[in-house]
Symmetry: C2
Subunit: 234 residues, 2 copies
DNA sequence: CAGGACACGTGAGGC
DNA sequence: TGCCTCACGTGTCCT
């Protein structure tokens, strides 16, 4: 409960009873109540040196507390100010709206930068396909990762794009790593609301046939062997 | 100042002076101070029906205020809870640390998903190069956007990768939009700490020569005309 | 004026 | 015990 007894103590202390130099910040006008107002039944010891130090310590603790609380508030508010500065909003947006915006923004950004942790980064020697449905959901759409590792060839990307287009998959992010003539392609794609689940299997099949088309064909026409990470997911 | 007069009012009201049914939440024990305690010089009117309604209204206002403040707190805290749930942190992290994490996270995510607002999305008819240094800084590295719009050809991407590699540019994000045989390539790249500024100009020159290499060569070997956005920046 | 938003000081409770 | 965090009710300013 907020309305404890300390105000009362102070109120009485102001009027000559057990008042031992309370520090500033009291805005009661001094001595507004006649001292005839008895207070012997309040838990304040009227005299005794032990109580003096006890009260002094209590007072010091209260002051400490007050200042610590102020520091805490300032810490929180400074972070809020920082958020205000890095978000698209002016400096006068109130705390609640600011935090609402932050929540929204973090969600948006999180969706865009899905972590790619459970798939290998560099191309492997063997051909591989992986279509992993993710737990990330964006306004009802299913978002999942598709990974393709195979011999690199120049029109692999156009083929891939065709597949994605025909399946109405929206590519949120595409990472390509080529190494020694081989390529690993990791796509983060969002499926249509209507046919989220089917798309996953369709994509898997399409990638399989893409892999078949690649194998047995002539070596990549690229002139150089590359070793470069196009996008390094963090 | 926080310690205003209302506690004093209540304190006196409790003791028979101008006390007209104060609502709950007062934890002062009733009648602890003898009514001999004079209070004629306090700004409380002792009697009069007009004052009854005036005090009632004041009391109602105070209650309203209290409840509104509670709602405000709940609003803020619910947003904080939501943030706790979508960030990698447990439910017991304190407000300040939580907000610190939020700031850090937003910065990270923001850097990864730089907006591509000031460059066109779809390929244009004319060849174009743009290297725009951004105000985004990541641990001292300069981050900037490079945009290239030209006739599409199958080994454009490998060439691009070579350029980036030779300039020690780390590609944070690459957006490719092909339309009617033409391609627009927008790269978000981070330069080395050491030669941030030079890289911008080197890249610009490299892209120019890439463009020259493309023009006059045979038409793209791609079999299909594509119209697909690889990565749709938000 | 009513109402909202904020900072404040304080009590409670957790280590 | 002492320190820290939080919720609370309140005063104050703004609109």
């Amino acid at each position: 409960m907020q309305t404890g007894n300390s105000e009362l103590y102070r109120f009485l202390a102001q009027n000559g009873v057990g008042y031992y130099g309370f520090p500033g910040n009291i805005d009661f006008p001094p001595a507004t109540v006649p001292s005839s107002c008895s207070s012997s039944f309040y838990p304040l010891e009227v005299s005794g040196t032990t109580d003096t130090t006890a009260q002094d310590r209590a007072l010091a603790a209260l002051k400490n507390h007050k200042e610590a609380e102020k520091r805490r508030r300032e810490r929180i508010n400074s972070h809020l100010d920082k958020l205000r500065s890095i978000l698209p909003c002016n400096s006068k947006t109130d705390k609640a709206s600011l935090l609402a915006k932050v929540v929204q923004r973090v969600k948006e950004l999180k969706q865009q930068t899905l972590e790619i942790t459970d798939v290998e980064t560099f191309p492997s020697e063997s051909d591989e396909i992986a279509v992993l449905s993710s737990d990330h959901l964006s306004d009802g759409r299913l978002i999942f990762k598709a990974s393709l590792c195979c011999e690199d060839r120049s029109d692999l990307l156009p083929d891939l794009i065709d597949i994605l287009k025909s399946l109405h998959l929206k590519t949120l992010r595409a990472d390509m790593v080529t190494l020694g003539g081989r390529i690993r392609n990791v796509l983060i794609v969002a499926a249509d609301k209507d046919h989220s689940v089917e798309s996953v299997h369709f994509l898997q099949n399409a990638l399989k046939s893409l892999l078949k088309r690649s194998s047995g064909s002539e070596r990549s026409k690229r002139r150089r062997v590359l070793d470069h990470k196009i996008i390094i997911p963090q």
